[in-house]
Point group: D2
Chain length 296, copies 4
């Protein structure tokens, strides 16, 4: 028996970058949280403390800021691809890189009904994400969103589930359905109109959630993914993770009061957690696209 | 020397209430976090474990849900006043009550350009709050908002501060100014158009932040408060707490790169914290309005 | 009617300071989170953006680090007093200061049964705090602890509370009692053995919680405070805030199973919140000791 | 092209269970956060909203509580194996299950120097975890710990790294090394003395961190894993994720002060993130042990 060194990666996590682009008084803002990690020949550092090949995480951080100045940010997928390619191409012992980015949205503040040029308020509606993975000459992009919190106050049922020894839940044909969507979709190529694709996928997910009469959160999840794939050919596959944010009808009968689906208790824990994938049967191979991406 | 029992209060904190009001397929949603606390003759519970006067916190929670069914929620200030009055009026040994409410906003999901009747996504732009305090026959309302995150990418300076032994900060005539506003404003009466007042105060704060050329966050804070008081006579006083969410210009000169206010590092800690009050010289007495409200 | 500028303060919040003191291979560590705030003549900054008197929050931060080097930290009360006095004494327009400190504990890692000299693991058992307030020549110290999470699996009852319209809670003579103690105690002077006092107060609170048969969390709170005051004459007053972290017995009867106080659900929200003060009838006046300290 | 349903799982997350075992006045407490998820033939729910095979997540929650009553908890690995086997064995269409458990430690409160029988305070020092995965007849156990926060105030260097265009970091031969260890180790079988193994692995990790002179966090990580594998033959493989919690020496030279590794700023973000695996060359195949476990 010998002890050996296995899978590994390292990098700088959560580099907070705000990039302003000025066009006179009208500014654009990009507000990102960037994490980079490298793979390659790093055994010497682990086994002998020899750092000759360790591109310092501080250097990685500097690279993020320097690239933002030199090239701008553009869409986060572009920025991730540029950073990842740099690490793999410019350091011969670096064979792979992953760049994860979260983008926080900002809305322009309205003043007398007109958008202000350089004053913003933080937008709601979830956070845009991307994970760019480079392995030698190959590159994959998995984009997504998190914390898109949605709720339907009707149009949701849950019936017909097995009644076994430990079942006590009543059936319902009218409940609140609420979730905080985390979705990640894999692109079939890196030649995509990233902004247009993101905007459309997000819109389709919201609309699909809204219009689908739900017999189970599982059904809603699948429908949302299916609608995305039907409309967006550049998306090869989509994975969704949806906590069932339970809203329990409060029993007011001890107080002689009715409760016709009016008064709910929004529970924190526990919560159902539904996770599923919708894909195409002719999707290109995923390669390393999902490597190190939390999933199921 | 004798040991004595001093100030006290007790109640149920963070009752999560979602109240749906149905008008056919078009629903209204109120999503609240309600905390109640009582004051009065509770010495026996503390000194002897005698609970004869302890309105159980579970009972307080039930009351929140029951009132939501019986009376609806309406504006959170109304709901808080109704709950607070109930506790003080219906239990003779309860002399005071405080009801704190946070309201989470929801936007209707747009489907084919039209607002959906009962599908919602969680809104951004901060959380609406109120603190209603009842003391015997008197009542005070302090409403507010939290987590209104705003940023100006120019139009902010910080110069002319004392240069003393421990000063190293450079002066700047162009910086990013960002903060997460917490504001609480005291109403001069309880006869107010709550919804209109909230909407206007919030709008004025956003607009004031946007348009004011800032020589110090202190100046911006005062200006925002002043504009609120000028426009809204029902507001007697406003207190604001604003962390200075520092965005530091990244020094790219080691890499031979300029940085003309383009690339910033968004820092977490430490942060400046500016807190101030703007009031009227003829404001009615605050009474117990600020009792137990975190402040300065 | 005129609009005027009211109460205010400003400073640097959450300066994270780690101070190492070396005695050969044996090091001492102090790990603090320090917030400073100043009061005084700051109207010009607010009304006119004139910063001539604004001791920059960056300067305040530098002072924290410089003082740690020059004087060491010692006990957090000493460090707070030194910082606060400096701001009030060295700037004539600064009339008051408040220094809030949290101290994170570290245990030495044991190697072969012996404490290591300079390797540590983060301690549990709550965070030590202090709030030092200076006003002109006067100084007050309110020390405390937060997040001291304790639980009794028996020896707690809750019975005899009023049964009114909205009461549904059953009485119990055996329940789990759990809370996360936040306590703040005011010292009668600034001439105290701070370390000894803190250690004793903390120990007394733990022991009192453990041994007191509880008829109500209110009774436990009062008893804990009373025992502190009986044993520690330097403590003039103690305020405690205790969430009742509910542990509900799970109803297993639908599955034909008993539950003799064995299986509990630990709930997050809502929670009871019990807050009370125990004081001496001959305590010195509190002055500004509690100014801007969150409380009730 | 057809759209198809891919990988999926569902279950109940974060079931908070406290199990008391009474032996007269001396109680044992187990405080867990349990998440279960199932895999199998769930396509009908997703594609058609047919829930005939959907073991409700509420049923899964009830099972956790019922099993805690019927069988006790024991070690979390045993509890996870029992739950997972139940789901796979008792429902023919369930082909796999995963049970994730976090265990929160409690220390007995000392009263007059003796451990109290049923009064506890929450322990520090990290959280014990396990992930049990069942696939048909096979079972794997990956146990671990999270949030084990450790710090060395000397005995750590970082030198010899590449100096490239974007490198600005200075070399150091004496720095603070601090991290919050997340470790997960895969067992080679399910026939293990779980409690003994956990205690030893944790102790070895602490001791290894303390004694290893560190030339890189990578080296420390590998050494810690290596020492675990050398001492514990039941461990087939260990994966560690260690944020480099940077402590930066504060530059006090602008104030004419030295800083001989005494005064540090503890930074939040960004942080280095070092992740690596140490394994045996004769380790049994991992099978599905790491399926859906966040990693790299």
């Amino acid at each position: 028996m010998a002890i050996t060194f296995g899978d590994n990666q390292y990098g700088k996590a959560e580099v907070r970058l705000v990039r302003i682009t000025r066009d006179g008084d009208r500014h654009q803002i990009k507000d990102l949280n960037v994490s980079t990690s490298l793979r390659g020949d790093f055994a010497d550092a682990h086994l002998a403390g020899d750092n000759a090949k360790v591109v310092a995480t501080d250097t990685q951080k500097n690279t993020v800021y320097a690239f933002a100045q030199q090239y701008g940010v553009g869409e986060i997928e572009e920025f991730g691809l540029r950073l990842g390619r740099h690490f793999v191409d410019d350091f011969e012992w670096v064979t792979g890189a992953q760049v994860r980015i979260e983008e926080y949205g900002w809305d322009r503040i309205a003043v007398d009904g007109a958008d202000h040029g350089h004053a913003f308020s933080r937008a709601g509606g979830g956070t845009r994400t991307t994970v760019v993975t480079i392995d030698g000459p190959s590159a994959w992009v998995v984009s997504g969103l998190t914390d898109l919190v949605v709720l339907k106050s009707t149009g949701s049922e849950f019936r017909g589930f097995p009644r076994v020894r430990y079942t006590s839940l009543a059936e319902t044909n009218d409940r609140i359905l609420a979730t905080a969507v985390t979705a990640r979709w894999r692109y079939g190529s890196v030649d995509v109109d990233w902004a247009k694709s993101y905007t459309d996928v997000r819109r389709i997910m919201l609309e699909s959630f809204a219009v689908k009469h739900s017999l189970a959160l599982q059904q809603t999840l699948y429908y949302m993914g299916e609608q995305v794939l039907l409309a967006r050919p550049e998306v090869a596959e989509i994975r969704m993770s949806m906590p069932n944010k339970h809203h329990f009808l409060v029993d007011l009968s001890p107080f002689g009061l009715p409760n016709e689906n009016e008064v709910y208790y929004a529970a924190d824990r526990p919560y159902g957690l539904i996770e599923g994938t919708v894909t195409r049967d002719d999707a290109p191979d995923a390669g390393r696209a999902w490597q190190a991406v939390p999933g199921f």
